[in-house]
């Protein structure tokens, strides 16, 4: 059954009043969400772009942020995609417990996530010593930044991937299997192409969230500085005057994936299979 199309037709009676009230309340809410962000961009973007050309510290922080977020997102694609598929396609004991556990990083304060990672993977722990054998240090290194981003943001990708797989009816895979595909081949030839937009959208959201991560990173890694830590530092040193231009640039960096996401969703709506 298809949904009713949205309408721009004039409404009568209670419908019109509800529309006006909803519109007013919605406008206020939109202003609350967008106003502060627009204020930062409006007052700091010009200076931010000027700094972008000359401030090597800002350039390094943005490059590090983007690269770390990209690496964390790639790790999530590799690690979380199979878990998401298993949670959607297989029934096993403790499935709901596993699903709930995987949401924990979304529920705890981000500095707590940083502390938890420090306790689990710090130098004094067995896991930390294991990582150091491979030259990986959780504190004060890019490794720590990537792990903090992965820990805090990957549940967003995982949930998006689960939702994408849930939208692909398992009978597509079943038909592919009866036509000779192994489970992996059916996944690669059918499930992945059919869920790719959702997976990509989840990866974009995760990337954008990783870019803006601060609380968990600052516990593990103050140097090298990612953009959010640089904003924090400049705020402490120079107040709003120093922080706002950098903040404006970071906001614009996060808007790019948001626009990409909207374009993807627009395509998805246009390409949705018709109801039968």
């Amino acid at each position: 059954m298809s949904a009713l199309p949205r309408t721009t037709a004039p409404l009568v009676g209670g419908g019109a009043i509800a529309t006006v009230v909803s519109g007013l309340l919605g406008s206020l809410f939109l202003l609350f969400l967008v106003g502060p962000v627009a204020g930062v961009v409006g007052s700091g973007a010009a200076e931010g772009f000027r700094l972008l050309a000359s401030d090597s510290e800002l350039q390094a922080a943005l490059a590090l942020t983007a690269a770390s977020a990209t690496l964390a997102t790639l790790l999530a694609l590799l690690g979380a995609t199979p878990i998401a598929w298993l949670l959607e396609r297989r029934s096993f004991r403790g499935r709901s417990v596993v699903a709930a556990l995987l949401d924990i990083p979304l529920l705890i304060p981000h500095p707590v996530a940083g502390i938890a990672l420090l306790l689990a993977l710090g130098r004094v722990t067995l896991a930390g010593r294991g990582l150091e054998l491979f030259g990986l240090h959780v504190t004060g290194s890019v490794t720590g930044i990537v792990l903090a981003m992965l820990f805090v943001s990957s549940p967003l990708y995982l949930n998006a991937a689960r939702e994408s797989f849930a939208k692909v009816d398992p009978r597509y895979e079943a038909v592919a299997r009866t036509l000779g595909d192994s489970p992996w081949r059916a996944f690669r030839r059918v499930t992945l192409p059919l869920s790719r937009r959702g997976l990509l959208a989840g990866a974009i959201v995760m990337w954008a969230r990783s870019v803006s991560e601060f609380g968990a990173i600052v516990i593990l890694v103050y140097h090298p500085r990612v953009a959010s830590v640089l904003i924090w530092e400049r705020f402490n040193v120079s107040g709003l005057r120093g922080a706002v231009p950098v903040a404006a640039v970071l906001i614009l960096l996060a808007v790019i994936p948001l626009l990409l996401l909207r374009m993807l969703r627009g395509d998805e709506i246009r390409e949705a299979p018709r109801a039968e």
């Binding site: 009816d169 009978r171 597509y172 079943a174 038909v175 592919a176 299997r177 009866t178 036509l179 000779g180 595909d181 192994s182 489970p183 030839r189 059918v190 192409p193 059919l194 299979p273 018709r274 039968e276």
Partner: protein, 357 residues
């Protein structure tokens, strides 16, 4: 060959329970049953898509119970078709193509040349089913499982596609299991017929046998018998049953008097004394304007209460001492008898035509 032994599978509202079924090698088996009978679950269990809780599945003589679907050398066509929406028609048909060129041949056989490059999402329901059939057959399966594959086709095209599938079946002689709720389709296609309801197999045999000797009154009504009467059966000693030479006398062991309402019917069978049902196919009931001078044991005087013509056949309902008996005769015969409501007629049918269950 498809052989399932005591399989139980599926969960929720439509589980299969202890189903056993055999479709001989190279035969066309049909399973009929109402919506929710578990027909699709049966096919999915045979295909290895739905795990079994109990039982074994043999295909082409091999025990495939633990084999994954891709190793069972079968194809499954769903009613919904489940065409891959990211592939065009030709790519769908070629998805599991057994060898180069087979997919193109199937596209031609099913008349899909004009839509071969089309996005499958713009196809009609009937076209989608044709693509699904072509895709399944291009895989060159040893076993073909069909789940109501002609349901979305218009009647003219359905007949043509049925013939084409049947032709390909004769050419390759794979084994088919086709589920449907349409008894006419089952009778037209099947070498063997099984009736499924509520996840249980109720009867299996040749279509003619299921048609003439349904195991239960429910099956009788499901396969289109219009005269199904509840009553009491009583074996009688009768020296003149209306059997013929060559009939299987073991099946005609004794004569039975069957009382339903104010009517007593005579039948032949194994039924024990007590409550039973009598089934008489409308095609077995003869009508005449006067009594017949034959050995037919069941002959009654009645009044026509309804005449319904449907093309070449006309169904006539006759009230016999308060019991409605339906007869099917050619529309031409009905015209010759000038049948109309209120007309007095004689109803006759052989004792052999009364099936007791």
């Amino acid at each position: 060959m498809i052989s399932v032994e005591g399989i139980s599978a599926g969960a929720g509202a439509r589980p299969l329970t202890d189903v056993s079924l055999v479709v001989p090698q190279g035969s066309y088996g049909v399973v009929i049953g109402p919506a929710g009978a578990g027909k699709t679950t049966l096919l999915e269990a045979i295909a290895g898509i739905v795990p079994l809780r109990a039982g074994r599945v043999h295909l082409s003589g091999e025990d495939v119970t633990t084999w994954p679907p891709e190793e069972r050398r079968l194809s499954l066509v769903y009613q919904h078709a489940w065409l891959f929406p990211h592939l065009d028609v030709a790519q769908n048909v070629a998805y599991g193509e057994a060898e180069p060129g087979v997919a193109d041949a199937m596209i031609e056989r099913f008349g899909l040349q004009d839509v071969r490059d089309h996005d499958v999402r713009v196809l009609s329901g009937g076209e989608r089913q044709l693509v699904a059939l072509a895709r399944a057959l291009a895989h060159r399966p040893e076993v073909l499982l069909l789940d109501e594959p002609f349901g979305a086709l218009d009647p003219r095209r359905r007949a043509a596609v049925r013939r084409e599938v049947r032709t390909i079946y004769y050419e390759r002689r794979f084994t088919v299991l086709h589920v449907t709720h349409d008894f006419a389709e089952a009778g037209a296609l099947g070498d063997t017929l099984a009736v499924l309801d509520g996840g249980r197999l109720l009867q299996q045999g040749a279509p003619e046998m299921v048609l003439r000797k349904p195991a239960t009154p429910w099956i009788a009504e499901f396969v289109g018998a219009e005269n199904v009467f509840a009553g009491d059966a009583r074996p009688i000693r009768d020296s003149s049953p209306d059997w013929r030479d060559g009939d299987d006398l073991e099946q005609l062991e004794h004569a039975v008097a069957f009382n339903t309402g104010a009517l007593t019917l005579y039948a032949l069978g194994h039924v024990l004394p007590g409550p039973a049902h009598a089934v008489i196919r409308a095609e077995e009931v003869m009508l005449s304007l006067g009594p017949r001078t034959t050995s037919v044991r069941n002959q009654f005087h009645g009044i026509v209460s309804d005449v319904t013509a449907a093309g070449a056949l006309t169904r006539v309902t006759v009230q016999v001492t308060g019991t409605p008996i339906v007869a099917a005769l050619t529309t031409r015969s009905a015209g010759e008898l000038d049948l109309a409501p209120g007309r007095e007629v004689w109803v006759a049918f052989k004792a052999m035509s009364v099936h007791l269950c």
